[in-house]
Structures are given as C-alpha cells and as structure tokens.
C-alpha cells in the first residue's frame, strides 16, 4: 500500500477514534457566570431546517442556501469586565478535539502585545471538501468560539460578504492523491 493509501487508511481508522461531533465543553458554562454578557446559540439540524423554511425574503436567499446544507451552528461568546477571567485551560478542551486528524488549522494568529489570538480550523471529509468550521477568537476581555457543522464552500462564505461582512477566504488547496485523479 503506498503512502497516500496508508494516510487515507489512517485517516479513516483514526477518524473513528475521535468523536465526530465537536463538543462544547461544560466548563464553558462556568464562564457565563463571570461574564458581563454572554451569547449562547445552539442550532441543530432540525432548527436550521425550520429557520431555512422561513427565510423567504430575497435578502435571505444566500443565507438560506448556506444554512439548508448545515447540520448545526453553535456559538459561545463571553464578554468580561476585567482581564484574566478565563484562561487557556478553559479553551484547551475545545482545542484538544481540534487536534484530531479530521481538523486542520488554517489560521493561527497571536498578538503578544495585545494578548489577542485568532484561530480558524476547517474539517475535511473523505472527498476533501470542507465539512466544518471552528473559529476561536480569544481577546483579553472576550472569548468567542464558533462551530459551524456541515458542508461549506468558500464561495458560500464569500456570497455572505455583503450582508454579514464575511471576508473573502482563500482555502489553500490540499494536494490531491495522484491515484484519485485517474478517471
């Protein structure tokens, strides 16, 4: 078996060892007690389908086409009065799940001076398409974790640029296995 095949086999085998669903850890709920403001959004597939049914305005069309394909949208965002109300260990239980081979970190920016971190992860499926997005934005007085579960096309995100201010995102193409290219 060649290297690509071994990698693929490992991916399939190890994927089973990691939970398919990203879990928002329970310890994040403790942060709500310390936060001056909290945003907590949990939308599973059923709720997204229901929402999509009522997104009938012309303005909603692009959001609707995105949302219809998704399995879930989860947002936990905490704003604190003071710095130091949360620590890296609070986010570690999310990060540890993202070390699974299913996830790839495509952006990691740390500003030591301002103490601000931004990380973006994409999850790939067996056919190399994006199947999930996680954003961790950690500022001294604000922590936001976003998980969008489901198929995403970079063009979906671009289309939302007008309404949602989502910037153009360039996803570096993964090298395709040579054998897969053969018809």
């Amino acid at each position: 078996m060649n290297r690509i095949g071994v990698s693929l086999a490992l991916l399939i085998l190890t994927a089973g060892a990691w939970p398919q669903q990203l879990k928002m850890p329970v310890n994040l709920d403790r942060l709500a007690a310390k936060a001056s403001e909290t945003t907590d959004i949990t939308l599973n597939g059923r709720m997204l389908q229901l929402a999509a049914k009522f997104m009938n305005d012309q303005d909603d069309a692009e959001a609707r086409s995105l949302v219809k394909k998704l399995r879930g949208i989860y947002v936990r965002s905490f704003q604190f009065e003071d710095e130091g109300e949360y620590s890296d260990s609070d986010i570690e239980s999310v990060r540890s799940q993202l070390r699974s081979p299913l996830w790839e970190k495509i952006v990691g920016v740390r500003s030591k001076r301002e103490g601000e971190n931004a990380e973006i992860y994409f999850k790939g499926d067996a056919s190399n398409q994006i199947d999930g997005l996680v954003i961790i934005a950690a500022d001294p007085k604000e922590l936001t974790i976003i998980h969008i579960d489901g198929p995403l096309d970079p063009s979906d995100l671009e289309k939302l640029g007008g309404d949602f201010g989502v910037p153009r995102v360039h996803i570096p193409a993964k090298p395709k296995p040579a054998k897969a290219d053969a018809p």
């Binding site: 959001a63 949208i73 965002s77 990691g108 920016v109 949602f164 989502v166 995102v169």
Partner: protein, 119 residues
Amino acid sequence: MNQMDEKLKRALRRRNPSTGFADRLLARMAVDGIDMTPRIERPKWSWPTLRWAAIVTVIAITVTGISYRVHVHRSQEAEARIAKQQVMLALRITGAKLRIARDKVKAVGGEQTTPGDTL
C-alpha cells in the same frame, strides 16, 4: 429627575400592541374552545345540564382537533422565527470574527502564523 432618567422614561413609555390585539386574543380563545358565556347558577346534575354537557363535549372534541393543529402551526412559526434570528446573529458574529482574523493576519504580516494561512 436628571437627564438620563428623563430619557429612559421617554424611551420606555408604554406603547400599544398592534391593532386588533384584543380581538385576536378573543378569536384565539374561541378557537381553543374557551367558554366565554356568562355562568348561570344551576343545580349540577339537572337533565338540561347533562344534555348540554354532552353537546359541548362533542363540540370540544371537534374543536380540539382543529385548535391543536392551529396551535402546532403557530408554535412552529414562532420557533422558526426565533431560529432565523439566531441564525442571522450567528452568521454576523462569524463574519465579524473572520474579518478580525483577516485583519490580524494582515497586520502581523505572517509573523507567528502557521504555514498555509491566508485570509
């Protein structure tokens, strides 16, 4: 009263719901089969009472089926409306955070970024 108090009082003064609120409520009560007729005192177990009880029971069973469907539909509509608002909020937050990450990448200029990151 200071300026802030005045502003709050003005901004938070009472306002009416949309026209026809009371009428819609009464219509909803009728659909739900809530008896709004004046109560007249009668002996509990008189024959007219029993006959009317039987008639009302039959009507109530019929109306319950209709009102249940109306209730389910109304609940779903409310649920969907809430879900849509949350979806829009979530997408706005996502857009804001992606934008911030992009700006950080540009500002830092590749310092301490992981390979392959582009925004």
